[in-house]
Amino acid sequence: MKKTSGAIDLALIAVFAAFVAACAMISIPMPFGVPITLQTLGVLLTGLVLGPWRGFLSVVLYLLVGFAGLPVFAGGTGGLGVLSGMSVGYLLAFPFASLAAGALAIWFVRAGFKVRYAWLTVAAAVGSFAVIDLAGIFGMMVVGQTDFVTAFGYNLPFVLGDAVKVFAASAIAVAVNKAFPVLLAARKPAAA
């Protein structure tokens, strides 16, 4: 068993925070009008690739740098202004989505579950729908002062894109975990 060092953990956290920012800059036109960015794909992947704690810290760093004013959020925005915007719930949920997806992924992998792609898809789906979308809907209820059903309706146009991103995230995570098995490998408890 090989444990990564503190310095490499730090570098992984920082570089993946930048990766999420780069993902947020990429905007894909969709057939149904609402363009999607790869922001949530980056968030889910960070958890699936780095595991829960590094994933969580990485996305927290991403949010901090954005709140501090660097334009790293989708649409090239930055600063605390996003806190009163409609997307506040989604943004604040990102670290927890990364945490949830990473924790489930590591649990499935360590438990020796076969068909890794399917189980990573489950992990990504929990992060995307149970964490991000739910918090996003709650955020829109608070910011827009609306009820659950209305906010749920606002969220609907994004669900298709989110589903695509969930499948993509798990496929990419499987490939990356093959290239760097140490990051999410079935580690035995520390031998010392």
């Binding site: 570089v15 901090l64 501090a68 334009p71 790293v72 600063g79 915007g85 990051l183």
Partner: protein, 205 residues
């Protein structure tokens, strides 16, 4: 840190010369007063104040006050929705807070170069020492992230060029996997470089 990842517009207004800490204070105050008080007159007042302040930054009206159409649409829709359900005051609060907070942030981001923002965040991490965190590691992570931003963006560009050469540039998701592999590789190399310099290790032993 210039170009893509900065909203900074050079100038010599009062706000360009104001220390970055004060600008953060203005941003915090303007954002949270409206959010906490939920009073339509307060929110309108804050919006008017930050709009005036932004115009005084001298960065050009479009750069100062322009917002994506989606934001105007959202603000207008929220206002109309609340008026329709008979809560005009809530509508004014919600719409003004939305635009006001974006403008308040822009006072900071339009008049402060990116590296200054990064330095401010590193400085802000220093008091975290008292709750057991290691401010040096946090500062290092912030600077490392800021440095990695252009690098990650370039990685997407290079992978896209490679895909274009093979006529596959439309598949966005196929672009991501090589970028993630590069990110891990780059992070491992960076981590080893940090270790070689005795940086970034946890201090407690």
């Amino acid at each position: 840190m210039n170009g893509l990842f900065s909203l900074y517009a050079p100038g010599d207004s009062v706000f360009h010369r104001l220390p970055v800490g004060w600008k953060y204070l203005i941003m915090f105050a303007a954002t949270f007063v409206g959010l906490l008080l939920r009073n339509p007159w307060v929110s309108l007042g804050v919006l008017a104040a930050v709009t005036l302040a932004l115009t005084a930054c001298g960065v050009g009206l479009r750069h100062a006050l322009g917002l994506p159409p989606a934001v105007w649409l959202t603000a207008g829709f929220l206002l109309a929705y609340q008026i329709a359900v008979g809560a005009w005051a809530t509508g004014v609060v919600v719409a003004c807070n939305l635009v006001g907070a974006l403008y308040a942030s822009r006072i900071l981001t339009a008049t402060t170069p990116g590296p200054v923002l990064v330095d401010a965040l590193v400085a802000a991490a220093r008091p975290l020492r008292f709750v057991g965190a290691d401010p040096e590691r946090i500062g290092l992570a912030v600077m490392l992230m800021a440095r990695s931003l252009p690098m990650m963006w370039d990685a997407f560009g290079q992978v896209r060029d490679a895909a274009r050469a093979r006529g596959r540039e439309r598949n966005y998701f196929a672009l991501v996997a090589p970028v993630v592999v590069r990110a891990v590789g780059y992070a491992q190399a960076t981590g080893e470089a940090l270790m070689a310099r005795g940086l970034g290790e946890r201090r407690s032993r």
